[in-house]
């Protein structure tokens, strides 16, 4: 799963042609370790239809605070440069899948 930074966020996420799910995480966040492998799998499943990337909030505080991330894991799906869906906290794979489907379809 690609690592996004404050510097590459605009290019990789906001300007992305595909809906892009960003996994906001940090090394100290234990629940993130449950969510990250799940979104990684979804990234492979949705290849060509949606993009899945991760962003370390400790190293990239600007992006995290710009989107008001105050609890992790948080997943935000961006489409055409806008956040369209936010999922806060560890959630089952099906909920995340549904959110991606909705973002693709919308």
């Amino acid at each position: 799963m690609a690592d996004i930074t404050d510097r590459t966020f605009e290019q990789e996420v906001l300007k992305s042609q595909l809906p892009t799910l960003v996994d906001f995480w940090a090394p100290w966040c234990a629940p993130c370790r449950i969510v990250s492998p799940v979104v990684e799998e979804l990234g492979e499943e949705y290849e060509g239809k949606a993009k899945v990337v991760k962003l370390n909030v400790d190293d990239n505080p600007d992006t995290a605070s710009r989107y008001n991330v105050m609890s992790i894991p948080t997943l935000i799906i961006f489409k055409n440069g806008q956040p369209v869906k936010t999922i806060i906290g560890a959630q089952p794979k099906e909920n995340i899948r549904r959110a991606i489907d909705e973002a693709i379809g919308s």
Binding site: A26, W28, A30, P31, I34, V57, N68, I88, P92
Partner: protein
């Protein structure tokens, strides 16, 4: 048809599943939308035996789940929504599925009690939290409140002081309920102050929390307090109300007869959903084991052959 349907996937439910599968009982775990339970919300667990250096809560739960699945437990990550325990086989439903089981073990644990005030629900994860170890780093140099007067409120406040500029503990009574040692630690911490006889009436803010409305419950006086985050630590409530026909005690815990039995024959219970006393991962796991053994015995007495 399953021999055992276990509802809940914390230490109690997953331990029960390890035992029932190893007893060759066809086992389904209705794990809930948020599988793993309370330990998914914590960091280092230092008192679960077998891990001399401690183990991260989520790692412990992932290992328990793997162990149950390796022995053949099926896991469905959905919430139990309704059931029929008045006739056999028992019926257990989720939003999309329906299952039949010869026996049921309820292990739905407990969830954070929220304040239930205006402005709270929509700001969970945007300045309202119940998990200081998860969210504290987002509040570097911020002003925060912790609501509650027990051990968990002191612990949350102490964790938060590692990052926050100032932490105010808000308690509705005039004295704390927390253990002496934790009270002392909190009182000695220069970043922590206390507001007694005070309740939170409303949480304010647009995108994120910017303040709270407080009420002094002796004078009735209302004040606004600008703050950046609200950490709620007023206890946990057992997830028991959803089960119709099950006897519940005055405090809302599932009533237990003769160790792990409920008032309905063939429906067993384990963990924080019935245990108001110990509320530990190891005791929940122990109750899960006991409920599984009781379910196995009961099934043996009811059905000659397992199929």
């Amino acid at each position: 048809m399953h021999d055992v349907i276990i509802i809940g996937s914390g230490p109690a439910g997953l331990t029960a599943a390890i035992y029932t599968t190893r007893a060759n009982l066809k086992t389904l775990v209705v794990a809930g939308g948020k599988w793993g339970g309370q330990l998914m919300l914590t960091t280092l667990v230092e008192n679960y035996p077998g891990f001399s250096e401690g183990i991260q809560g989520p790692d412990l739960m992932m290992a328990m789940r793997k162990q149950a699945q390796r022995h053949g437990a099926e896991v469905v990550e959905e919430d139990f929504t309704e059931g029929d325990f008045t006739k056999k086989p028992f019926v257990v439903k989720t939003a999309t599925k329906s299952f039949e089981g010869k026996s049921v073990i309820i292990a739905t644990g407990a969830d954070t009690k929220w304040l239930g005030v205006p402005g709270e629900k929509e700001r969970i994860g945007r300045g309202v939290s119940s998990c200081a170890p998860c969210d504290a780093p987002f509040f570097r140099n911020k002003k925060l409140i912790v609501v509650g007067g027990g051990d968990s409120a002191m612990e949350e406040a102490l964790v938060l002081t590692r990052f926050a500029e100032k932490v105010t503990i808000i308690h509705r009574r005039d004295s704390l309920r927390a253990s002496q040692i934790l009270q002392q630690r909190a009182k000695n911490n220069p970043k922590i102050t206390f507001l007694f006889n005070t309740t939170v009436e409303e949480i304010q803010g647009l995108e994120k929390v910017t303040g709270v409305k407080l009420k002094n419950n002796q004078t009735g006086k209302i004040t606004d307090m600008p703050i950046d985050g609200v950490f709620v630590a007023i206890g946990h409530a057992p997830n028991s109300r959803i089960f119709q026909g099950l006897e519940i005690d005055e405090q809302g815990y599932i009533a237990v007869h003769n160790h792990t039995k409920t008032n309905i024959e063939g429906v067993f219970v384990a963990g924080d959903v019935h245990d108001a006393k110990y509320r530990q991962a190891i005791t929940a796991a122990g109750f899960g084991c006991a409920a599984a053994l009781e379910a196995e015995r009961w099934l043996d007495s009811q059905y000659d052959t397992k199929n």
